[in-house]
Symmetry: D2
Subunit: 165 residues, 4 copies
């Protein structure tokens, strides 16, 4: 039985404080349930925080790098997949995740939300940008959920995974 993979997406550069704390908390919660945490694997921002949370709680982590230098991955990544494909790797992040959470929103994250919707994947969005929330809630219809607190987001993740079994 393959590992269940939760993709935690979000800004590398310039994340907000809540983005970072949400990603870190979700990483921990995933680890506690033995889910592997996937991120884009860079050594900063939401990617780094989510992997850190998962590792500190004894979980397994998976980094899928856009660039081709393994040495630049987050130190909290167990498995480092090197694509060397730039942003085209965002689609691999999505196809590989059994469920996707976005903690915050910059252009790369928005592309991942859109690619998730394109692939009919369920996605949970956490952001303080209310304009983004209301647009994406409408746009994503039955496949996009929004949450305020990480505990709430994690309940949604659990439900999505349960429904998919």
């Amino acid at each position: 039985m393959a590992d269940i993979i939760v993709g935690i997406m979000g800004p590398g550069a310039n994340p907000t404080e809540p983005d970072l704390s949400n990603a870190y908390a979700l990483g921990k919660m995933c680890a506690a349930k033995n889910y592997t945490v996937l991120t884009g694997g860079h050594n900063n921002g939401v990617m780094h925080a989510a992997l850190k949370g998962a590792k500190e709680a004894g979980g397994r982590t998976l980094a899928i790098l856009a660039f081709d230098d393994k040495a630049k991955a987050s130190e909290y990544a167990d498995i480092v997949v090197v694509t060397g494909m730039g942003s085209a790797r965002n689609n691999i992040n999505i196809l590989t995740s059994d469920v996707v959470v976005a903690c915050g929103l910059e252009a790369g994250t928005l592309s991942e939300i859109a690619l998730a919707l394109k692939a009919s994947k369920k996605i949970v969005l956490m952001t303080q940008n209310n304009q983004a929330l209301s647009f994406l809630k409408d746009f994503g219809k039955d496949n996009l959920f929004t949450a305020q607190a990480p505990e709430e987001a994690f309940l949604m993740i659990e439900k999505i995974l349960a429904d998919a079994r």
Copy 2:
């Protein structure tokens, strides 16, 4: 001197009538200025309409396919590039375009808008979805422009290309 390439993005399935007529008109205008028109190349929707407009005005067209069957490309494609990469090809559409226009908005198109912003490409957005317009205008800052009529969009394209020279 390589061809100037204008990427015209938009829904394959379920485009609106204005999406189709805008794409068709922009295809014609690009051809008249000797710009090559790039689309995702499928045989339907905005992709097809833009290529049709360009060909009917004597222009050159470029299709970058997500799937791996050349025979399923739009009949209006001159050059058919076959990626076989699914939605990961959306990033190639963006990197290859000197300027991008979106006529309408579904999940794939939204991913292309986001990938364009990620790559610091300028993009012109035409849609009847006002919520999308106002969110993306804020989100895209100086790199995203909105237009109502294809003539207006084309003036923006011309200005973006002129500024880039």
Copy 3:
């Protein structure tokens, strides 16, 4: 009707003199028959020579770049497709070509020959490496042909294209 695309593959760095003259001659011959010439598009070696031959004979050319900087493409490329995917783009070269010729052989070219065989594409190989010739002739079975002179290779290309129609 989409353009017929002939992919001319070969070393960028350190090509042999015959590799370069074969690529240049084949580029010219393709142009004379109105076939679009595809290469990896870099500004050196076989890629550059093939595009130069095609352009000097009034043909159309297509460059599919591994890197993401359009400005570094060969000056003889009309259409420059930017993948930013490194060597993963070699598979796009192959899927996009209606027939493939290899002029010379370094690691990247060998990967393209192998990817062509994997995709059941026909390929014509020209090289002065006799060990490579005999191994690849056996390995490629009915899909790999070898030629000495560009005129001979071009006859094979014509036959492969005719058989595919």
Copy 4:
């Protein structure tokens, strides 16, 4: 500290008996040293045998799929990465592996050997095809090694990993 990843490549369809037993034995040996085993992840041939060996010895396994259906991965894969990119994923296999072994040789495997050489990765080749062995030994120069028995191949893997530290 990220996991050390050993890529075991080889034919999915029509492997030889020695290809399968070599892959299985190498999978076991990697697991014993706590190396993660990477393959293309399909449910047959060398990919399947290597993952089976690793899992039976209590190791960790990583499958990088060419297609986009996770359900079709080998049952011995722990982490399943879904690329949906066809053979373009072969380059990800290579970039992700700290060292590569090929057990047998069909077109896809040959493309991976060539992509490894292109990326200056070290590769160990095991095949009963003597013509292939002598050609690739010359072609791969200092980056390609050949072995007869899995124990011999594994010593080479250990040495390559030690030299890289």
